[in-house]
């Protein structure tokens, strides 16, 4: 049934990337973003692609899974490609019809921009969404955000909120299913009629769902109180994030790797 709902698109595995401390992954993610933005000449983009390919191989995630994470943005990629190819005009004219013109400069720019967007998505998926559970990610953000506590940002509480939300997603999905069945037994329809009638059908699901979610929240708060929850103060952790030697090693290797495209860019420019 719907009991094993996963959030995000985590693909279980035991690769180097999977085992990496999530904080390192967040750091590397930022680093690769910078690289992808700075590397804008064709040769440098090719080098970035090679580097992302290395990351993909290290993650041992089936290529199909990786490509699937690109699917939601295909439309945006096409859009960016078309905008760029028709609006940028430099170099010789390759093709023209009515007001539309494709120039060599525009084509190069469009291909590169689209390709960089693709690389951005691939790097994000490989480093974060596909190899890191949402819980670990929230742990990492809690740990990296802890300096913010100085200015009274409730970092621990925010992480707790995220983790409770994650915990309750399967419960609420199951409950939605139950309420929908109960309301269809009473003749409610969600799949017929025009958009307004359907929306009205969903009111019969959403109202009970909200009412019950509030009740759950109230009961959970009492249960947490009973288990001596007092915010983040003094709270220990069963699985604290701890940097191991291998984490430092891979952080070094992968950081160097992130500079390769920039070096290529720089060196080819000098010549």
């Amino acid at each position: 049934m719907m009991k094993d709902v996963s959030i995000g698109r985590f693909v279980p595995g035991n690769s180097v990337i999977h085992r990496l401390d999530p904080r390192v992954k967040v750091f590397l993610f930022v680093l690769y973003m910078v690289t992808i933005f700075l590397a804008n000449r064709p040769i440098a983009v090719m080098a970035t692609f090679a580097v992302v390919l290395v990351l993909a191989l290290l993650s041992k995630i089936p290529p199909m899974e990786i490509l699937r994470s690109v699917r939601p943005i295909v439309f945006i990629m096409i859009f960016i490609f078309l905008i760029n190819i028709f609006t940028l005009r430099s170099g010789e004219v390759l093709w023209s019809w009515w007001v539309l013109k494709i120039t060599s400069g525009g084509l190069e720019r469009a291909v590169l921009l689209t390709f960089r967007l693709l690389l951005l998505i691939l790097a994000t998926s490989i480093l974060l969404t596909l190899t890191t559970t949402p819980l670990k990610l929230s742990d990492a953000l809690e740990s990296l955000g802890s300096p913010l506590k100085v200015i009274h940002v409730p970092v621990n509480e925010m992480a707790m909120t995220i983790s409770i939300a994650l915990r309750f997603i399967p419960t609420l999905v199951e409950e939605t299913d139950k309420i929908m069945k109960a309301q269809s037994s009473r003749g409610a329809e969600y799949d017929t009629g025009n958009i307004f009638q359907r929306a009205k059908g969903y009111v019969a699901v959403l109202v009970p769902l909200f009412v019950s979610a509030f009740k759950r929240a109230e009961e959970l708060a009492v249960a947490m109180d009973a288990r001596c929850y007092q915010g983040g103060v003094g709270k220990t952790k069963l699985h604290p994030l701890r940097m191991k030697g291998s984490d430092f090693m891979w952080m070094g290797i992968l950081s160097v790797l992130a500079f390769v495209p920039l070096a290529v860019d720089f060196l080819t420019k000098i010549k």
Partner: protein
Amino acid sequence: MDPNERNIADYEQAVKAEEILFAYATNSGSDVLAVDHASFSVQKGEYIAILGRNGSGKSTLAKMIDLLEFPDGGKLQIFELPADLDENFWKIRSHCGMVFQNPDNQIVGTTVEEDVAFGPENLSVPLPELAQRVEKALGYVGLSEKADKQPASLSGGQKQKLAIAGVLAMEPKLLILDESTSMLDPKARDEFLRLVQRMRQDKGISVIHITHDMHEAYLADRVLVMDKGKIRLQGTPPEVFSQVDTIRELGLELPKWADLLCEVAKFYKISPEQSAFLSEKSAEEKIRELLRGERPEDASRTVRDVKEPDDKVILKVTDLAYSYSKKEEPTVSGINFDVRKGEILAIIGHSGCGKTTVISHLNGILRPLEGKVEIWDDDENHFISTDKNTDIKKIRKHVGLLFQYPEYQLFEETVEKDIKFGPKKLGYDDEKCERLMREALPLVGVSEQVLKRSPFELSGGQKRRVAFAGVLAMGPDVLILDEPAAGLDPAGQKEIFGYIEKLRDQGRSIVLVSHDMDEAARIADRILVLKKGRQVFFGTPRELFAGSNDYVSMRLDRPCLMKTMLDLKKDFPYADEGLFDVSEAAESLVFGKDGEVSAP
């Protein structure tokens, strides 16, 4: 906070409450006492059961002990520490563990082990002790191999064990169970209670157990009975339950064996003495003594109308099989049964045996993968099947389905609108909707005064009856009820079963899913037993529990009443263990030797 600061000195009394009060403000502005001058104590290692109607103040009392609420008056000491002193707050709370009713609403962790760790983490227990505590607690409750699983993948019983493990990892001295067993099936309930007993023996923990189950109350050293915030009875189980009239007046029941004893004693015009309420054995002994004695001349049997069975089949299930995913084994298969007009069919079996899947087919929520589900249509005088999309609306008109905890399906602004939702969807005009609603109200005891109120203002029992009325207003001939009495107090349960019998007497057919073996056997004309998605029995309750021990292989519990009757049968061979109604069973004992008993 340093966990060492939490150490408490040795104590004799875990709880001592003197005249404690708890008031809350009502909408009308006046204060109501949820707990009204309650005085009681709990010794170290003692097991206390708290009984009482819903809303009698049991939960509030329990919350005060865990300092989740504070008394408005009186003196409360926990572990011999005054509860109103700030310095004692964490000392007390960190040594109390509480397990609540709904397993889903007390799990905090995204994985099983994270959840167990939550309590000790809050107590600043450092590693590696933290990990050891988690491991030990999971081992103790038998969930070790689930450590890294999502809580959503656990069954209800496992979730409550997880809650126990979470409490255990905090090394409590006092365990409070707030209706923790009420959402579990009998097997999970037994396991849970055995676990609690084991904890008591191993660790000397005191237990306060709020429950609606009288058999559970008998496991306790002492029982408190609450009513409207007051502690009305207090004492050992026999002391409390021998006050039969007070128990019934307070909306509670007796265990079946004690009930039988009282019914038998009625014919002999005596009230049994306290010693007869000591245990099932002593009650049986007292019954033996009475039966061997002289029966008063004027004792007479009740004349019961014999119900003429109606052979007309109105719902037919043939070779039903269904699977939620094509790759897996079918969730249910080989299901064959029919429902006759005016009968109650009970479907029983352990959690996960496919009961919900089967009943979801009866009004076309699920469509069979194989086989057929057909419903008799009076208007056209033929059977219509659920595989035809065009007939679904008609089927939902004939077959009303009420899932477990139906109060969660209420959504409209007023009770009236909510009850009319179903009939409106069937396309009836305002006049007909109004008429159907007015007809449905008295069937389940919903008063017309609540019609203009929001359903969310009502009490739990009222909400359930409104949801019930919403299905009845669609005018179904067949009613499918999934655990209609679950989670209600004994009086509420009795009321619901009363409505069900009345609906049957009006000629409606009822398919009832129930965990309560005594109630199912008493009320049902026929029983369908499911085990792991297969049908293992279909016939009358008498056939199911008759001599051939089939029910043992089906891993069903016998009705409690039947156990007592079988014990008595050894001395009184005419005792009819196939009777599942307490007064009928009592009559078979009292008048059986006259040879007047004829098996129905």
